[in-house]
């Protein structure tokens, strides 16, 4: 009899929450620095992170105590945005773009949160056996 693997039950969504949280932070930094001369806007390429999760092979583990780095929170490389318009003070924050990205990221976060919530209540239902 095997113990329930919460990793499998939650899929990628617990990692996704960490990624979206990190992205929320980056985007809020961009918005905070919208008037700072010379600031370069940064972001995480979500598709690249997703590719990384799917492509990277899990390490071979010979003991149950071994950690699997792929299963750990995957943060993609933080990259600088390419500005659509140059500004005189060297700031590359495009407020509209940042706001749109922030809204999108919030929705993604809430979606993952909702899916996790449903999975948890599913598990709880299974435990109760009602």
């Amino acid at each position: 009899m095997s113990v329930i693997s919460f990793d499998k039950a939650f899929g990628n969504h617990d990692d996704a929450l960490l990624l979206f949280e990190r992205r929320t932070q980056l985007l809020s930094e961009n918005i905070a620095n919208s008037d700072t001369p010379g600031y370069k806007a940064r972001d995480i390429d979500f598709n690249q992170v997703l590719q990384g999760v799917n492509d990277s092979l899990p390490l071979e583990t010979t003991s149950a105590m071994h950690l699997n780095p792929v299963a750990e929170a995957p943060f993609g490389p933080v990259e600088y945005r390419i500005p659509s318009q140059s500004s005189a003070d060297g700031n590359t924050v495009d407020m509209q773009q940042e706001q749109a990205a922030f809204a999108e990221n919030t929705i993604r976060y809430q979606t993952s949160l909702m899916i996790l919530s449903r999975r948890i209540s599913g598990l709880v239902n299974a435990f109760k056996g009602e």
Partner: protein, 138 residues
């Protein structure tokens, strides 16, 4: 939780924008301040922002904002010929600061919008955190 440090970033930006609003208020309030000498006249002040790196979290540097300095504008005072003014100098001139109130108002709106954006970010992040705390409790 790492997200709490987000509040520091947003908070630093809000206080920087508030200082910008304060300088605008000071500039507008003093736009009619007269003086008998061009050297003692009020000069428009504008803050210069800079990014402050916080490396307290390993590998995840946080970028807040701080006011690097408050710069005084290098504009010439405007002389007015007013011999009846008690502040007038020997030649009968009083000076007023060269403050462009239209530019100051535009600056004010920009600062106000940036402040609002930061408040919005703060509200959203707070909302997400509260929802995360409710996870699995339904």
């Amino acid at each position: 939780m790492a997200m709490t440090s987000l509040f520091d970033v947003v908070g630093s930006a809000m206080s920087a924008q508030m200082l910008r609003l304060n300088t605008v208020a000071s500039n507008l309030a003093n736009s009619e301040t007269m003086s008998g000498s061009a050297d003692t006249i009020y000069k428009a002040r504008h803050p210069v922002f800079e990014t402050v790196l916080d490396n307290t979290l390993q590998g995840r540097s946080l970028q807040g904002v701080r006011v690097k300095q408050i710069e005084e504008a290098n504009t010439e005072a405007i002389p007015h010929f007013m011999p009846e003014n008690p502040l007038a100098n020997a030649d009968g001139y009083v000076f007023s600061p060269a403050i462009n109130s239209v530019a100051e108002m535009a600056d004010m709106i920009s600062a106000s919008r940036s402040y609002q954006n930061n408040v919005e970010v703060l509200t959203t992040a707070k909302d997400l955190m509260l929802r995360t705390l409710q996870l699995g409790r339904s």
